[in-house]
Point group: C2
Chain length 480, copies 2
C-alpha cells in the first residue's frame, strides 16, 4: 500500500458512452456502471482501488445524464466524493483532466501542487494492492514535475489497445522512464512485433501528475482546451450535490484526449512499466477471455443452457431462458428488451445499428427496460394502446415530484414497502396490498419515507400516455 | 373443386407434440395452432382446405390438453366441427384413424361406408384448389375399397421425409396406382437416387378411404389397435362439446402409425402421385426455405435488425428487439420467455433440452409466457416473492369460475372492455380504468358478458401465490 506523506487526489473519469458492450450497456447506462466481474459496478471498483490513507475522496467527472445513477452507486457503496462535476457533453479526457486540476487547485493551499491520479472508471484491475504499489513508484517523479503514465506489459499481441514505446533496457526497472513514442492501435503483424520486441507497453490511460504541472503543459500545448475548461469551471454552478460546468464554454474545447493534447508533445511525459493484470473490457472477446468457462470453453452467465456449443459467451436475461445449440465462438446477449447475437471475435460494427435506432426514434440505444430516475427506477411491464402498466421502485427516503397529469388516470398498488401518498389536500399511508386511484388533473405525490425499498405497480389509463404528460409543481431534484 | 356426389368426412389429426419448432411451439401450444405462413393457425388452414359442398364438417381428434385452445380457434374461424374427440394421450395415427372410422360409422346409415379424408393438421398446402382436385381423383378408388394415400412428387433430395415407391411408368397418371414399398427417411445419397430415379414420392400422411375398409384392414393387420380404439370409443363419454375416449382402453393400443399398422401390410394400399406444393414445416430449415427472404437470403419475422448476416432465419419476439450481426445460416427464435440460437441446417437435438427442462420442473417446454385457459389467457408480467402481476384476457361471453383464494388478495383494474364482477353477494360492472379489491377468502367471479374482449390487470399479494390456491365453487368448463 502507499506510504508517501503526499496526498493523492483520485479523479474518476466517467465519460464512456457505452456503445461497445451494447445492449448490456446503453447510452444512459454506460459500461462504468455495469457490475462486471464483481458485485460492484466498475466505477465503484475503480474508486475502491484508490482508497486508503494516502488518498483523498475521489473527484467524479461524468455526463450530466448519468449523475443520479452514479451518485446512487457511490451512496450505496458508502463513498462520499469530493465533488461530482457534470459535463453536458463529453469532450474526451483532456478538458476533463484540466477541470480536475482546476478543481483540486481551487481547494488546495496556495503553494500546494495537488497530485492527481486520473483514472478511467470502466477498466478492470483485479489486484488492488499491486495497483497501489505501482502508483507509489510514480509519486516521486510526479512530485518532480513529470506526467507519469502507466504502461501495461503486453502479454499477447493485442490489436485493440494503443501502445507506448520505451527503451527496452529500461523496461524492467521500478521507476518511470522516458516515453519514446505513443503508438495507435496496431495491426496484427505489428502487434506481434511489439510483443516480441519488449519495447512496447499497452497504454492504460491512467496518469499521475501535479495539477500545476498538467495545467502548465496544457497552457503550452493545448491552450484552447485549457481556456475552454477554465471558463467552463469559472462559470459553472453548484446544483444540489453536483457542480455543473458551463455547457457553452466547455463545448468550445476541442474533443481530444490527454495523450494527443499533452502527452505526445510534452517533454515531461514518463511511463512506469507495470505488470498488474489490466483490461479495458472493451469487447465481447475481452469479456469472454476473462470469464470462467465450462469444459467446452463457454462463458455462461445467468439462466442459460448450451449444447454442442463451444467457445461462446452467453449472457442470460434476468427474466427468461437462453438456449444455444450447435454454435461456435458465438456471443448471445439476452437483455429484457434486446437480444444480440454476434460473433465473439472481429470488431462488431454495432454502431450502425445504434445509429439506426436513434434515427428511427427508438430508445433501445439509450436505455434498458428499467429506466433510472433520481428517486429510483421504473420499468414498463406492458404497453397497450390506452393503458400502460409500470413497476415503480422508489429508493428509501426518496420522493417523486408533486405533479399531475392531464390525460391519464393512475392506479397505484403497493406490493413492497410503505408509501406515503399525497392526493389533493390529503396525505395518507399505503401498506402492502393497499391501493389508491389518481384521477386526471388530481395533484399527487409518491414518497418513500421508510428505510426499505418501496415498490408499487402503477396502471395508467388514458388516451395519451406519453412521459411528457406531467406537470411538476415541486421537485426535490430541480426538474421541471 | 370436388364435384362427386359422394360426401367426404375430413378428419383433422391433431396429435402433434410441438417439439420440433420449440420454442415457437410448446407441448401445450403445438405446431398445428401456430399461425405460420398465414393469419390463420395451421389447423384452420387444414380445415379450410377440406371445405366445400362435398365435405361434411370436420371431425377433430386432439389431445385433451389442447381442447380449449383448438375449440377456440375453430370458433374464431366460424368452423363447427362434427365432433371433437379427446385423447388423454397420443398413440400415433393408427388408433386415431380407427376412432375416426368408428365415429363416422356410428352416425352413418346402416349400409353406408363414409369416406374418410385423414389429414395431418400441421402441414402446409398453399394451393387448396389443387389439393381438392387431387382428392377428387382418389374418390373412385376409395369407393372401390382402396386405401388411397397421397404421394408428393419429390422436388429435391429431401432426407427429412418418408418415401413411397411406385412403378415409374405409372407415376404420371391421374389415378391412384399400387404402392410398391414404403421407405423410411433415407440418407443423402439414397435421397439423391430417389430424386433422379422418379420412382419415389414423399409420404404426405394424407389418406382417403372408406371407414369400413379401414376397419376391416385393421381387423386383419392390427386387431389390437382396433380393439383398444373400439373399447375407448364405446366407453367414452360426452363432456360439454367434447367426446372423451376412455383413457385406460385407449392406452392399451400400440403406439403406431397408419403406415406401419396397415399400409405396409394391406393389399388395398394405393398411392396417388400429386404435384401440389406441400411441406410438413418440420424444421427451421424447412420454415426458412419456404419464407420470403431479403437480398442476403435471410428470412426475418418481427422486430429484427440484421447486419453482415446471410442465410439466417430470425424470428423476433412480440416484445423486444432482436439484432443479429456477422452470422451465417443461423436460426434465432426470440419468444417472450425463451431465446433459442442454433444452426439452420442439421437436426437440432433440442429434445435433450426439453427433457432437462421437464426434469428440473420448469415450464418452458410446456407453455408460453401466455397460458391458455378455456375462458381466455393470462400472462405473468412480473413475479416477486410476495406479489405477482398478471395480464388477464377474458374472451367475449366467457366466465372464470366462482372461486376464492385462501392466501392471496387480488386487485383488478380493467384496462380494456367491461367486466362483470361478483364479490360475495354483490354483482357489479367495472368499466375501463375502474378497479376492485378481493380479500383472501372472499368469493368472487369475473365474467365478460360483453361482445368485446376484456383485459384486466390483476395484482396478487400474499405469502403464497401458487396456481393451486384456488377453491372452485362453480365452473362453466367442468373443472374442479
Amino acid at each position: 500500500m502507499l506510504s508517501q506523506t503526499q496526498t493523492i487526489h483520485p479523479v474518476l473519469l466517467c465519460g464512456g458512452s457505452g456503445t461497445r458492450l451494447w445492449p448490456l450497456s446503453r447510452a444512459l447506462y454506460p459500461k462504468q456502471v455495469l457490475k462486471l466481474e464483481s458485485e460492484e459496478a466498475l466505477i465503484i471498483q475503480t474508486a475502491r482501488r484508490a482508497q486508503g490513507k494516502c488518498f483523498t475522496a475521489p473527484l467524479v467527472i461524468c455526463n450530466e445524464e448519468h449523475r443520479f445513477l452514479i451518485s446512487r452507486l457511490l451512496q450505496e457503496a458508502d463513498i462520499t466524493p469530493s465533488g461530482v462535476v457534470l459535463e453536458a457533453e463529453g469532450r474526451n479526457t483532456a478538458p476533463a483532466a484540466a477541470v480536475a486540476a482546476l478543481f483540486a487547485l481551487n481547494r488546495a493551499a496556495e503553494r500546494e501542487d495537488p497530485l492527481l491520479l486520473l483514472l478511467p472508471s470502466d477498466h478492470a484491475i483485479p489486484d488492488g494492492e499491486a495497483f497501489q504499489s505501482c502508483v507509489s513508484k510514480g509519486v516521486e517523479a510526479a512530485q518532480d514535475g513529470r506526467i507519469v503514465t502507466f504502461g501495461i506489459k503486453a502479454s499477447r499481441a493485442e490489436t485493440g489497445y494503443g501502445y507506448i514505446e520505451i527503451d527496452a533496457a529500461a523496461a524492467c526497472i521500478s521507476a518511470p522512464v522516458e516515453v519514446l513514442r505513443f503508438v495507435e492501435k496496431p495491426d496484427e503483424v505489428t502487434a506481434e512485433e511489439f510483443l516480441q520486441g519488449g519495447r512496447h507497453c499497452w497504454n492504460s490511460g491512467i496518469f499521475l501528475c501535479g495539477a500545476k504541472t498538467l495545467l502548465s503543459e496544457m497552457e503550452r500545448f493545448a491552450p484552447d482546451v485549457l481556456s475552454a475548461a477554465r471558463t467552463a469551471f469559472e462559470q459553472g454552478r453548484q446544483d444540489l450535490d453536483f457542480f455543473r460546468l458551463d455547457a457553452a464554454a466547455y463545448h468550445r474545447s476541442p474533443n481530444i484526449s490527454i495523450d494527443h493534447a499533452v502527452m505526445e508533445r510534452t517533454e515531461r511525459a514518463s511511463v512506469l512499466a507495470v505488470d498488474f493484470e489490466w483490461s479495458d473490457i472493451g469487447s465481447w472477446q475481452e469479456l469472454w477471455s476473462r470469464s470462467p468457462k465450462d469444459e467446452a470453453n463457454n462463458a455462461l452467465v445467468g439462466d442459460v443452457i448450451v449444447q454442442a456449443t463451444t467457445g461462446s459467451f452467453v449472457y442470460g436475461a434476468s427474466k427468461g431462458l437462453t438456449v444455444v445449440s450447435g454454435l461456435e465462438d458465438a456471443v448471445v446477449i439476452n437483455t429484457e428488451d434486446v437480444v444480440l447475437v454476434t460473433k465473439r471475435s472481429g470488431a462488431s460494427p454495432i454502431k450502425a445499428v445504434l445509429d439506426r435506432l436513434a434515427a428511427e426514434g427508438r430508445s433501445e440505444h439509450l436505455s434498458h427496460a428499467s429506466v433510472y430516475r433520481p428517486w429510483g427506477s421504473y420499468k414498463i411491464l406492458v404497453h397497450g394502446t390506452q393503458f400502460q402498466v409500470k413497476e415503480v421502485n422508489v429508493n428509501a427516503g426518496a420522493a417523486l415530484s408533486l405533479q399531475y397529469h392531464e390525460h391519464r388516470s393512475e392506479h397505484w398498488i403497493v406490493v413492497e414497502g410503505v408509501a406515503e401518498v399525497t392526493r389533493d389536500s390529503d396525505t395518507f399511508e399505503l401498506n402492502r396490498s393497499e391501493s389508491t386511484f389518481i384521477a386526471p388533473g388530481q395533484v399527487h405525490r409518491l414518497i418513500n419515507s421508510g428505510a426499505k425499498a418501496l415498490k408499487i405497480i402503477e396502471i395508467q389509463c388514458g388516451d395519451y400516455l406519453g412521459e411528457d404528460d406531467i406537470v411538476r409543481l415541486e421537485d426535490d431534484y430541480g426538474r421541471r
